[in-house]
Symmetry: C2
């Protein structure tokens, strides 16, 4: 590996001068600068990041912690983050942990090792907030995605799950569905809980049938949506609509309806949440809530970068809530078609 010494020797200058050329310092004679620049290219010299990090206490690297499930969801967000950071010459160090203990250990390693300048945490099922916040200690800026953790001087980015869920239930009720069931995504998942809360509140607000019988626990997979629907349709009276907490479960629900010889939406309206790319290509096309994952990632990257360039004293605590839009297609029984 070529070092700054090799360059200095070949250019017959000191390493200080090479360093100045590298950093565009103005105090270098043009002739010297040219000579050194040429040799840097010749040798294909790239500065050693470890030496840089040690000396500057900045690594131009951002850490990204995410759960190892839900690949699609997180990969989209990650792409959004990456796109923004790449443009701004930063790298992403990822770590996906299995459980919360692992995650907290990883965060500790990330934060105190001088490895990263900022951290993005996706932890929808976080429970031990205390342990987490203790690790952080405001050493570096942090952005939380899809988890509500009251850490000072951090940014939190949330989806407006609650209101969109309410809106979706309202839409179904407007179409005459009064007995609306809900397939939950998991009680430890923040998004799932918020969607559920919106469903519950909407049910009472719009005076719909209320019963625990109408709620079934799923886990965001097609299979769980399928099973949940089979269970729900045994209720008496059976629901006239099913609101699944994500599209994958809605797809399982549609398949279950097919098996039960139920027509969707005539016998049973089914709606989802996420608006995955093939939602429009299902039969019937799925009514759902669009979630702009890339934009979420972009916002996270942007906010983090902003705070990384700020003095710790200047940082604020910020909360960004992304409004979501329902996408009305056929599966809810509406004739209306959205763009």
């Amino acid at each position: 590996m070529t070092t700054i010494n090799d360059v200095a020797k070949k250019a017959k200058v000191s390493t200080a001068t090479v360093s100045r050329v590298l950093n565009n310092s103005d105090k270098v004679r043009p002739a010297t600068r040219d000579r050194v620049s040429t040799i840097i290219k010749e040798l294909n010299f790239v500065p050693n990041v470890n030496a840089l990090g040690l000396q500057r206490k900045k690594t131009k690297t951002v850490g990204l912690i995410f759960p190892d499930a839900s690949a699609h969801y997180f990969s989209e967000i990650m792409q959004g983050i990456n796109r923004h950071l790449f443009k701004n010459d930063h790298q992403i160090l990822i770590s996906s942990a299995h459980d919360e203990e692992e995650e907290i250990k990883t965060i500790n390693g990330f934060v105190n090792s001088g490895r990263i300048d900022g951290l993005i945490i996706m932890m929808p099922s976080a429970r031990d907030y205390k342990g987490l916040i203790d690790q952080l200690k405001n050493e570096i800026p942090v952005v939380f995605i899809a988890c509500e953790i009251d850490a000072p001087y951090s940014t939190t980015i949330l989806l407006d799950n609650y209101n969109s869920a309410k809106e979706m239930v309202h839409h179904l009720s407007q179409l005459g569905r009064k007995r609306i069931a809900f397939i939950h995504g998991g009680e430890h998942n923040y998004d799932a809980r918020e969607r559920h809360r919106g469903y519950i509140d909407a049910r009472s607000e719009y005076q719909l049938d209320e019963s625990e019988e109408l709620e079934v626990m799923g886990n965001f997979t097609e299979a769980s949506g399928f099973q949940a629907t089979l269970a729900l349709m045994k209720r008496n009276p059976a629901p006239t609509a099913i609101f699944a907490a994500n599209d994958a479960m809605a797809i399982g629900a549609i398949e279950a309806a097919r098996v039960l010889k139920l027509s969707v939406p005539a016998d049973l309206a089914i709606v989802g949440f996420d608006d995955i790319s093939l939602a429009a290509y299902l039969d019937p096309a799925l009514t759902t809530v669009h979630v702009p994952l890339r934009r979420l990632g972009h916002l996270a990257g942007e906010s983090l970068l902003k705070n990384m360039n700020l003095d710790p004293a200047e940082r604020t605590t910020e909360k960004i809530i992304i409004p979501l839009k329902p996408v009305i297609r056929r599966s809810c029984g509406s004739e209306q078609e959205s763009a």
Copy 2:
């Protein structure tokens, strides 16, 4: 940030001793070891990775380059890689680039900056192999995924797209479909090209209808599968089966068939490639080829780690081809159901 000096001072030993404790050197008196260990915990000391990297020339970090499209495909692979590396105490630094020029620049930065100990490159649309190989220079071990680049001392992991595609066409022909169309995934994509090659060879081998009319270019999206199918069904005679180079396009094809009032599989058999999780939940359930993405990622991580622990002189050039299995469901018109 706590340093080794803080620990040394507090424990009243030299930094050398702290270092020995940290590295489990046996030449430390138990009493000293205990005292130092206690203080390390007390101070929550984590060694600075930049100093470590500078000194050891190892960073316990692996680089991962991937295209910024196809989030799902790559996120699954990434999860497989990560799972394995996490267990072995390594981090992943990612970078997804827009085009090949960006990618090569990134690779150069990764390889010559002392940032990583190994590199995994997913570059299905790589064209400029020369530029790529020049960057590599055998500095660090490299694993290529889904691209055939003749770089010495590297590992290449490929899917057996070709034979599986042939097998799928054979299966359709066995079911009496003689006019089988193909929706291509993109001519610059390695997997797509191989699947296409298998299709072409199978067509002639099994004496099926051959015509350029039966091939349409798509781009791996539902929308392109939809459009391609609309175009294909205008042929005269129309195809009796469509082989889409991935599941997303197959889903688009099914929707197109629906619009055209064609029954699948009675009028038109449709098969895909990938076996995404909801393939089983489509109507009709999609016949496709299962691609074990996590396993692919796992193998990549494993191979890389193995080579990272080897002397450069001991490294070999390796090529791993992953066999793929068709999953026969309803959309091909077979009565047979696979597990």
